[in-house]
Amino acid sequence: MKRERILMGHGSGGKLMRKLIKETFLKNLDNPFLSPLSDSAVIKMGKEKIAITTDSYVVSPPFFPGGDIGKLAVAGTANDLSVVGATPLFMTLSLVLEEGFPITDLERIIQSIKITAHEAAVDVVTGDTKVVEKGKGDGIFINTSGVGTIPEKISLSMEKIGIGDRIIVNGSIGDHGAAVMMMRSGFQFESDLISDCAPLYSLIQTLLKDNSGASSGIKFMRDPTRGGVAATLNEIAENRGLGVTIYENEIPVRDSVRSLCEILGLDPLYVANEGKVLIIVNRKKSERVLEIMRGHPLGREARIIGEIQEKPEKRVVLKTRYGTSRIVDLPEEEKLPRIC
């Protein structure tokens, strides 16, 4: 097989993308800040710990139930800062517009950016606009970069994850990916399904600022976006050389997401989220963390979905409702609907 060209799979959060990062980006650009491949780079400047992140948004269509590309661009970048424990402060906004894109649509997107930035407590402090010829873009692409500060006492990292830790998710999985898929031309599905796209800042801050001691049990957080919960958990398993076990019966999935997945032959574990966070917590603190999360609007349906075990090394295992197991592999590329 020839694979010299960029395929859609290189941007899907799966194995192809990992390979590209390793063999093309890290090979040339490696440094101690980049190499952990965390959501945000954490940099020490004097006494201050700074988190910095960047992300591009190419969602199609730009408007979907529950959000739009503008809301996504702010929430996504703010979430990448929030999950490393940072307080998001400033954001940049870079637009690539295709000739012919309706200005009223742009206005709607910018208004949505304004509202979401307010919710995430960040200010858009600088920006850029480029226009490409008709046919050379898909209406609108957005890049945002974000900067935040991390309080001294907070230090989250994958390295801290150990055997016995619990895995918590703040609510139902797959909502964003399913909502967007429903809107795609060619599929023609309808439902009341909406994307979970939301800034997680206030939920995460509630947890980190809790002074009952719960926050000390939090070891690592990540928002399972592209590649879904399966991709994030596989990264943890591989990075730590440990096993991740999740329980089918504990994983919250909305009926509509489950139904769409049944119809299209997809697995909700691989479907993208934009308002979900996976939190790895010390077992002893897990119930308390769960309790705090459930007191927040974005965490009402929070559940412990699994735990870190010694084995099987570098693998994610799903315990089915029948007590049997199956391996949840890292997605290779974008999962497509199948008929057979």
Binding site: R3, R5, L16, Y322, D329, K335, P337, R338
Partner: protein, 358 residues
């Protein structure tokens, strides 16, 4: 979800599993299913672990994507890249390797490739884009051939065409049963192929070949029910075709669907990837629908020989159940889900792909 959840109930499943393990057969048993969706259900729900050690379930040639010959994918690539028509197909087909790469590769080279859920979506695309050539790449067994036939009977506009890579199950099953090196004690038949075709065409199998046949649906209870029934057929040495999927399958099948297939397609000798040409196993467009035949429309010629199986690939033996994926020297080494070397590693229901994830 009605008609699904009843068949996933934990109590029912554990009850069936213990019923199966209490049966005693004189020797270890090997049953074959010929359906990727069965393999998918078995893997997804971890059903093999519920069975006693003396029962093995193996996957036969039941993934229409895996058996789709390279030459058909090469045709689709040629139509997209040289004829600049849009290829419209099911998501399953995108990653299958062909002579010059997969349809994903064709897409990255500028070919227009669209994934749809239904053949009717391809017809709608042709109606909505009258100045664009839309070529539907149809793969699948009888179940899928019926909707495709219905879409053709809706008289798509002149800018619509199709590649028919449809195959039918019985000739492949007969081919398997006629080999002496495949030791199978019974067959699990695909519930949706028989929903369309009925099961009368399999009725002489038990007598002719001395094997039990159980028709199964796709929920855990359906699959276990079929296994349980096959075990009993073996114990009682009373072989028959037993319908375990009564909410969907009848002896006669779906008359309208069968007629649609007959009206649109005729039976042809067809190639199965890795297996070769099987007599009377494919469906090609009848003369009155020739105007939709993409090969004729685009006057395609084969420019080079299509390579069905890469050297060293043992997919053909895996598909007939002769060997298990790990017995292939390529498995997990040169052939992985991200860089499939053989067709069984491609589709999410390909035997090797599923085995890799277990």
């Amino acid at each position: 979800m009605k008609h699904i959840d009843e068949y996933r109930d934990e109590k029912v499943i554990s009850g069936m599993a213990s019923t199966i393990s209490r049966r005693k057969a004189a020797k270890p048993l090997k049953f074959m299913h010929v359906c990727g969706t069965h393999e998918n259900a078995i893997a997804r729900f971890g059903l093999r672990a519920l069975l006693p050690e003396w029962i093995r379930i193996i996957a036969g040639p039941g993934c229409p994507v895996c058996i789709c010959p390279t030459e058909d994918i090469d045709l689709a690539s040629q139509i997209a890249l040289e004829k600049k028509a849009a290829i419209v197909t099911f998501g399953d087909m995108m990653k299958v390797p062909a002579t010059d790469g997969s349809l994903f590769d064709v897409k990255s080279s500028g070919g227009k490739i669209h994934v749809v859920y239904s053949p009717s979506d391809a017809v709608s695309m042709a109606r909505e884009n009258p100045y664009e050539e839309i070529c539907f790449f149809g793969v699948g067994f009888e179940t899928t051939a019926a909707p495709v036939a219905a879409a053709i009977l809706s008289r798509p506009p002149d800018n619509f065409s199709m590649i028919s890579s449809h195959r039918i199950i019985p000739p492949a099953l007969e081919l398997l049963l006629n080999r002496d090196d495949v030791a199978i004690d019974g067959f699990i038949l695909p519930g949706h192929v028989t929903t369309v075709m009925g099961y009368s065409e399999y009725e002489d199998f038990p007598k002719k070949y001395g094997k039990g046949v159980a028709i199964a649906g796709f929920e855990p209870a359906d699959v276990l029910l079929a296994i349980l029934n096959l075990v009993e057929q073996v114990i009682e040495k009373d072989y028959k075709v037993f319908n375990c999927y009564r909410r969907s399958v009848t002896r006669e099948g779906n008359r309208l669907a069968r007629e649609a297939i007959q009206n649109v397609f005729e039976i042809s000798d067809s190639r199965w990837r890795g297996i070769g040409i099987i007599k009377n196993s494919g469906l090609k467009l009848r003369t009155e629908f020739q105007k939709y035949d993409a090969v004729k429309k685009f006057q395609l010629r084969k420019e080079k020989e299509s390579i069905d199986l890469n050297p060293g690939c043992l997919c053909h033996l895996i598909m007939i159940g002769k060997i298990e994926p790990p017995e292939c020297p390529m498995f997990g080494k040169r052939c992985t889900p991200e860089f499939p070397y053989g067709p069984c590693m491609v589709s999410s229901e390909g035997t090797c792909r599923l085995h890799h994830g277990l």
